[in-house]
Symmetry: none
DNA sequence: AGATTTTTTGCGGTTTTTTGCAATATTTTT
DNA sequence: AAAAATATTGCAAAAAACCGCAAAAAATCT
């Protein structure tokens, strides 16, 4: 890999995720951390990013909001995305919902992956669209301004006609007794259809939403195959869900 | 192998793979690396690629350097968009295709306008989505990476089920004898369906595409109600189209 | 055609760039 | 305060670029 090529990649990653870790980049592009550090140094001098202890930050995202210390704590959603990516194999049909966690997943897909992604989430579709080896199926219907996904009868019937290998769902609430719950009538219907259609359902959520409840019931825990959070898989908070038969990553 | 031939090959490779290595080229074409380096030097001075340590990168790899010609075209599209916007009234159902002219139209919509826009073009949908008073209906199907619009049987049947007031079509070729022509089989079918479904069809195009022909026939001039270009409505080039019964703006 | 000039190309030697490593210092975490 | 992670520095090996220079090839001019 050429030096400039590598630096362009780094800049791309910084702009995409607002931050990068030297260690991650090192393993990702298989060069020593020294080299990464020197790259960051140069790019920093060129004003293309801001170098901090442990990695670099996006210039645009650089107000007081992010102190250098924050770089160490990887964003929870990035951690979740990285775990989720490992489930996707070449040739798979993957159905995804909306939400920021799903966007992060879309941005973390390795360039080498070639698969088919189905979604009604416009931001997610935009990310998939930029990927060189991914086919995109758009679920059409009326676009909800709030959630930026298509909702309605058309979307439901289209989803019911599919049998994807995998379904990634960003969820707002999960609880041992009440299972998955949500607060939007149409979104709930969509999620139910997605779960029913898919061979395997993977739920993504940050840990603070675990053991919370919302007004509308989506499905029971039995319907969920895999649960991904930013916590280590052996965290005590997750044990009850393992006992309920869910694979926790 | 001639020098010019060799350099043409190098440019081709750069455009194809976005990067080339001096060492690879050397063994590939069987000349010394010095020669390759001198070639890259010259091509770099001609602006055909970017020379870096170890090889060269495509111009597209770095940042897009847009030529004055592109900027000129951009201005023209803005003129076209402003004319087109005037046709849209509150409460209308508007069907739009893809292409840069349509994007420009989407960006030019006044905030006060409240209407419903139907499209399968992801970039257009993104623009509509940001508008406060516009409802968006997404036409779903397989996403074409090139044109960034959804194409396929699903999209066709969905469009056929609609009766929009207005249809805006960015066109690639228009000619007095052959009418509207295009070069992509699927896109042609989509445009035909859009024209048939709509009560009024508005074609948008920059003047340089007037009186040009492409391989596949979309429709005859009779199907077109309004033609919008960046030229003044009384420009002589447009007179024949007026005579053919088209309203020219 | 033959001679002369110009261009192109490869080669040896030198300089610069790039990269990884090891030892040491600094920062962050626990 | 100790431990772990990250930075810095100097250095050496490899790769690549650079600099004439001369042979070969092509173009130009008698």
């Amino acid at each position: 890999m050429l030096k400039k090529e590598r630096q362009a990649y780094i800049v791309h990653q910084v702009n995409l995720h607002n931050k990068v870790l030297s260690a991650s980049l090192s393993t990702e592009i298989d060069v020593s951390e020294d080299t990464i550090r020197r790259d960051l140094q140069e790019l920093s001098e060129e004003g293309k990013l801001i170098k901090v202890h442990g990695g670099a930050l996006s210039h645009a995202f650089n107000d007081i909001t992010y102190s250098p210390k924050k770089v160490y704590a990887q964003d929870n959603k990035k951690i979740i995305a990285d775990k989720a990516v490992k489930l996707i194999k070449n040739g798979m049909f993957v159905l995804t919902g909306g939400g920021t966690t799903i966007i992060e997943l879309a941005r973390s897909l390795p360039v080498s992956l070639s698969a088919t992604f189905i979604s009604g989430s416009i931001p997610a579709i935009v990310e998939y669209m930029h990927h060189p080896n991914i086919e995109v199926i758009v679920i059409g219907d009326k676009l909800s301004k709030n959630s930026k996904i298509t909702l309605g009868a058309d979307a439901l019937t289209r989803i019911k006609s599919l049998k994807p290998d995998l379904c990634f769902l960003g969820i707002n609430s999960i609880d041992l007794q009440h299972g998955i719950t949500d607060n939007d009538w149409d979104v709930v219907h969509l999620k139910q259809a997605m779960i029913t259609a898919s061979q395997k359902t993977v739920c993504l959520t940050i840990s603070e939403k675990i053991n919370t409840i919302q007004p509308i019931h989506v499905c029971d825990l039995e319907k969920i195959d895999i649960l991904i959070t930013e916590l280590p898989h052996d965290h005590p908070m997750l044990q009850p869900y393992k006992d309920a038969g869910i694979t926790v990553l």
